[in-house]
Amino acid sequence: MDGIHDLGGKQGYGPIDVDDGGEPFHQNWEGREWGIAQCARTPGITIDWWRHCRELIMPEDYLGRPYFDSWAQTDFSTYLEAGWMTLAEIDAGKNLSGDPSPEPLPAMTVEQVLDEDRAHAFRFDAEIEVMPDYSVGQQIRAARHGHAGHTRLPQYVRGKLGVIHAYHGAHVFPDLSAQGEEVHQPLYSVMFAAAELWPEAAGSNDKVFLDLWESYLLEPRG
């Protein structure tokens, strides 16, 4: 979707607050939300659906509220959509469904969590029989349009000419994964000259690389 999240190249956001302090969590609640996102049971969602739910946050909330706050909002939205909680339950802080709660999850130690983190080295690629359409060094054009659903083709490269830099095999296609369908499609790193992307970069030798799925790509004349 052409939402507020698609920030690449947008102007007017001002200088960067470069001094972060270095601590992982600046407020206690940030750590709580991080932890919830790592270990709560979820209703059969995919990472792409979760990202799409975050993109659907109202623009003023997306830009105006703190980062981990938007994770909490996204979690709420995925549970509400799936019927795993209701607004009345959020207000009451209680299970009002009348259904028995599932078996409580066991408490994990830090050691167990470190093992769990190792187990979270998820891979998204798979062997497929289809050969990739493009080869390294070949010129392509990024698709000119997105669509209303989740996509990982940012607006700032649409319609622009690039060159295939690397091929990574077939990876889960996010546009369909956000609808619960697991389909693998060739994935490439594509190099775009900064001069192709931005008027103020004329004459620059700088480059921007994006990882793009095959259906985001066209022949140069396309």
Binding site: H5, G8, Q11, Y13, I16, D17, D20, P24, F25, R32, E33, W34, G35, Q38, C39, R41, I45, R51, R54, L56, M58, L63, A72, Q73, D75, F76, S77, T78, E81, G83, M85, L87, I90, G93, K94, N95, S101, P102, E103, L105, A107, M108, T109, V110, Q112, V113, L114, R118, H120, R152, L153, Y156, H171, L187, L197, N205, D206, F209, D211, W213
Partner: protein
Amino acid sequence: MTEFDADKVAHIHRELHSHLPSESALRVKALETLLVEKGLVNSQTIDAWVEAYSEEIGPKRGARVVARAWIDEEFRRRLMQDAPAAIDELGYLGKATGHLKVVENTDSVHNLVVCTLCSCYPFSILGIAPAWYKAAAYRARAVRDPRGVLTEFGVELADGVEVRVWDSTAELRYLVLPQRPAGTDGMSEDELAALVTRNSMIGTDRDLNAG
């Protein structure tokens, strides 16, 4: 179970906008309380995740990877070729590093990593991303004005250095391998790792100090 209904979620966000308390701490508290009540989360496990990412998992892991690559050419080669396998040798393979790629700075190339669409980050080797990495200003500007961004971070590029920006649009995650500073011959892996800054592994720092 989820129906992947985006219209419904857009409506839910509008309801939540007027429904949730405005303070972030209260929102997250409300979420945790209800998840515990429904048996969907264990608060002690949340404690453990916070501790893991406060004490154990963080940029010191990435710094160790960089230092080893500086002193062990064979490791550097494996890291460039198959980064997940190489960091697994150190026990650092984990969350969001299953498709890690390492990009190497040279005298003529400087690399900078961003995620313009959300905030993708190689958690198991760099820990929690800094606030600026997740902020709109960095996400908007890194791909369009990388040199201006670098200047704000105090990075000066020599003439002729090309900037390569990596926008993490898929499940690949990027780690910048900074250049080993001059005057560090004979330093141990521990001493070298202490010179590596978090920002140098994202690309918002370049010339490391030999100490």
